[in-house]
Amino acid sequence: MSGESIDFDRLVFVIKDKVFNLCFRFLGNYEEADDCAQETFVKVYRCLKNFRGDSSVSTWVYRIAVNTCKNRVASAQYRNNRRAIRLDGPVAGGEDERLFEIGDEKLSPDAQADRNEKGELIQKAIDSLPADQRAVVVLRDIEGLSYEDVAEATGLNIGTVKSKLSRARQELREKLKGLA
């Protein structure tokens, strides 16, 4: 499928939640994720005519999203925001808190709170990873992409993806041992 034959609105409709979740898990902040996901689709719109169909559209969009998130993580403004958030601590009723309210409604309130707390700890552990490792963990372990698609989306070769994923998993498993 080439770029000219793609209906942009339909593409956004189909893939927006996945891209949004990717951005959120990468950045750990709802507003940043919203902004980054929008920026991703703006770039997709502007580059759509250059899409040649070498990979699947979703992988191509993921790649743009990953690069956008990496740029955001590298930006001074993002680092300042993160520092301010860490100093202030989580805001009750704020965007960060609201995220973890999304879940299985069949769970009891206690179980839901426990799950939210654990989800927050996992997110913090993910946030502590370097950008490349974060990208492969989010794409592979959270989004469930194949190694080939992860490699395509990150621009790394499969060996590097596996190596980074192994290191990232090890680090996360160490950090999350208390949850076991």
Partner: protein
């Protein structure tokens, strides 16, 4: 080899990661994206602000650039003589006057003049001001610069200097501190004017 007892088991790790809550995009996401697409890109905005309408903005910019250029040139021209004076080398004779003994202190009234090479009116001005050229452009001193030695009657010294100062104001000569007295007559002041 890693110590697996200090880690979360891999299967539990994978289970937890895959079961993290999926965060959904807001309902108005597509509208927001569309709104951002409609926004004119920064480069386009800048070009528009700078050059549109072309008929008005280009002539204005050309005029502004020309005015700026003229201002820079005129500023450079005004500051040029002052810069040259600041970097002009001191003559040995001037240094002598500065470090000389007490009996030579009155030599501090004399001036060493540096001027641009053979300004056409310089000799005439020297003569008109009552000066007398005693040696002209013949010998180079240690600094390698040709010079003119001039004698001026002490009572006409002020007038002489003011006439040379006219040349200084017009940028043709620069006056530096001082050199020596006439050995034969204390009513005569000798000046050395360096020609650069």
């Amino acid at each position: 080899m890693e110590d697996k007892r200090d880690m979360m088991p891999e299967d539990e790790y994978l289970k937890r990661m895959s079961s993290l809550p999926k965060v959904k995009a807001p309902d108005d996401f597509l509208q927001k994206v569309r709104a951002r697409i409609e926004e004119r890109p920064f480069r386009e905005k800048l070009m528009h602000a700078l050059f549109v309408p072309v008929r008005i903005k280009i002539p204005l910019e050309v005029a502004a650039a020309t005015a700026t250029l003229l201002l820079v040139i005129s500023t450079l021209e005004v500051t040029k003589p002052a810069k040259q004076l600041a970097y002009a080398p001191k003559s040995d004779m001037a240094e002598e006057a500065v470090v000389g003994n007490v009996s030579n202190a009155r030599l501090a009234d004399e001036f060493c003049l540096k001027c641009e090479k053979a300004a056409p009116s310089l000799e005439e001005r020297i003569l008109a001001a009552g000066g007398r050229i005693i040696r002209e452009n013949a010998v180079k001193d240690k600094s390698g610069e040709p010079y003119i030695d001039v004698e001026v009657p002490a009572d006409r010294y002020q007038d002489f200097m003011s006439k040379l100062n006219d040349l200084k104001v017009s940028g043709k000569i620069r006056i530096m501190p001082v050199l020596k007295e006439a050995p034969h007559d204390r009513n005569i002041i000798q000046l050395r004017i360096f020609v650069i």
